[in-house]
């Protein structure tokens, strides 16, 4: 009895996460950081990172709707042996010995059926399927590319393309701001990432979370977590990153320019817009269909005026539900060894560069357009072309009001702002058609 209890106690301790932490310190090979971070110190560091992200989400309100689930997913998966992201596996008895194979019974069945073709041994009589962790299953929504387009549908409901319709020239500013993406791609290649990885990293500069996540899932899933974290962090930091660039590249006179009132937009125009955009973009660049298609579908069910109920659900319960699942499981892709390395630092740096160059390119085209139109365009609104809707537009408005409190740039900046969403979805489509 006592022996049994002692044995139980020993087993209990050995299966605890704390025991695992002490048993996996990986300090026996000196300063080999790859080896060390694959051990428990890596987990501890990642837990600290997740706590920092929670702090930023809660106290600094950095995109909390996504960053908090991401951080908590990161937290859970780095607690040792939590098994929440554990893949399904198959336990079977092979020549009298029990083995555990990654993957479900059917997946493993394939592999062994092939072996069987050669030696005819019937292993599967002893096979037992072990289910995967909770996040393993929820992650399928990402893996199969389902979650980001559905979130984009909700974004489509919430996006008002009115200011863009009133001033179609805004599209040029939304296009110029994608320059940051392609320069960052350049930089990433030079820093040693391959073309797929570079594309996924560069798209951070698009300042659209779902677009960045979708691209990363398709082209470089192993970089999903740092890319998502960088994308949402920089989107939160727009009010800090953009103003200095805006002030540096524009003169006081330019910042003082008032723009003329936008014309009112009829409902027919609003209805035709998503249909025409889908038609044109998908005809030219089919690889963007999931992104542009669902974004425009979301917008259509809103502006049509006859499907309010669908629009409410798409931008409400459905979107937030998927936000929870997407956030938690993106966070759960952070294995310490994958996250704590030089790549993550490079990604953060490249993302920042993409953002800054995109902002600058938008402003510079704004200056050019101002020249060409004889002073009718305030170049500041070009900065909103990076998207980060609606924050970048608000920042433009604020910087404009610093010079002249009577200058209302918000609506004028919303045009390039929403054009930037389309622009970066197109940029993502270019990468997908080139490298997928």
């Amino acid at each position: 009895m006592l022996e049994r209890l002692t044995e139980a106690l020993a087993k209990f301790i050995e299966t605890s996460g704390i025991y695992w932490l002490f048993n996996n310190l990986h300090l026996d090979k000196g300063l080999d950081f790859n080896y060390i971070f694959a051990g428990s110190l890596g987990n501890i560091l990642m837990i600290l990172v997740s706590l920092l992200l929670m702090y930023l989400a809660i106290k600094k309100e950095f995109e909390p709707l996504l960053l908090l689930p991401i951080a908590f997913g990161m937290f859970l998966v780095n607690l040792p042996i939590s098994g929440i992201m554990e893949h399904a596996s198959t336990q079977l008895t092979l020549d009298g010995e029990m083995v555990l194979l990654e993957g479900g019974l059917v997946e493993n069945g394939i592999k062994y059926a092939m072996m069987l073709a050669q030696n005819g041994v019937d292993y599967f009589e002893t096979a037992k399927e072990v289910p995967g962790g909770l996040f393993y299953y929820l992650y399928y929504g990402n893996k199969l590319g389902i979650f980001p387009p559905l979130i984009f549908m909700g974004v489509g409901v919430m996006t008002d393309f009115g200011p863009l319709l009133a001033n179609p020239k805004s599209f040029l500013l939304g296009a110029a701001a994608q320059f940051g993406i392609f320069l960052a791609f350049f930089g990433a290649l030079i820093l040693g990432f391959d073309a797929k990885e570079s594309s996924s990293i560069a798209i951070i500069g698009g300042a659209d979370g779902p677009t960045a996540i979708f691209t990363a899932i398709k082209l470089a899933p192993h970089l999903l977590a740092p890319i998502a974290v960088a994308a949402y962090s920089y989107m939160s930091l727009v009010p800090i990153i953009q103003p200095p660039i805006m002030r540096a590249l524009t003169s006081k006179e330019e910042r003082l320019i008032h723009m003329e009132q936008l014309r009112p937009i009829s409902q027919t125009e609003k209805i035709m817009f998503p249909i025409i955009v889908t038609l044109l973009v998908v005809l030219i660049l089919p690889s963007t269909t999931p992104l542009i298609g669902m974004l425009m579908f979301g917008n259509l069910i809103k502006v049509s005026g006859v499907t309010e109920r669908l629009a409410e659900v798409a931008s409400g319960p459905l979107m937030y539900m998927i936000t929870i699942f997407l956030g938690l499981t993106v966070g759960a892709t952070t294995q310490a060894a994958d996250f704590l390395n030089l790549s993550t630092l490079k990604i953060l740096m490249l993302g920042l560069i993409a953002f800054a160059i995109g902002t600058a390119a938008g402003i510079l085209l704004g200056k050019l357009m101002n020249k060409l139109t004889g002073g009718k365009i305030n170049p500041l609104i070009g900065a909103a072309g990076v998207s980060a809707v609606p924050m970048a537009a608000r920042v433009v408005h604020k910087v404009g009001q610093e010079e002249d409190p009577t200058n209302f740039l918000l609506m004028h900046a919303m045009g390039p702002n929403v054009a930037g969403v389309i622009g970066s979805a197109v940029a993502a489509g270019v990468f997908l058609s080139l490298y997928m």
Binding site: P168, A175, F182, D194, K196, M272, F431, S433, L434
Partner: protein, 113 residues
């Protein structure tokens, strides 16, 4: 789906060439598509003239699925003025200032709905 370039471009030259191609192809595509949309949108101003917000047919064909459901209030710009009025009325009767109070719950009934 097509694989344009070698994915493992080894030399720096290769990488520079790859980057330049993507830069030109990418920015080109972005500008072509957005200018195309922009051009078409700029024609909208002509069709937009004669349009009244959503004229409905007389026979109201209500969705089967909507049976018995009420439409949720959606505050339009017009409503906001009325809300302001009501807020002031209630606030004055309560001796509080309007910035402490917001009426969120009524809506105009559009005569067409």
């Amino acid at each position: 789906m097509n694989i344009l370039f070698l994915l493992e471009a080894v030399s720096l030259n290769e990488r520079l060439a790859e980057g330049t191609t993507a830069l030109i192809a990418g920015m080109g595509t972005v500008f072509i598509i957005l200018i195309l949309i922009s051009s078409i949108i700029s024609l909208f101003k002509y069709i937009g003239k004669s349009d009244r917000p959503h004229n409905r047919s007389d026979i109201k064909l209500k969705a089967f699925i909507e049976a018995g459901r009420k439409v949720e209030p959606v505050h339009t710009q017009d409503d906001l003025e009325l809300i302001a009025v009501i807020t002031t009325v209630i606030a004055s009767s309560l001796n509080i200032t309007t910035d402490q109070l917001q009426v969120k719950s009524f809506r105009r009934i559009r005569s067409k709905n």
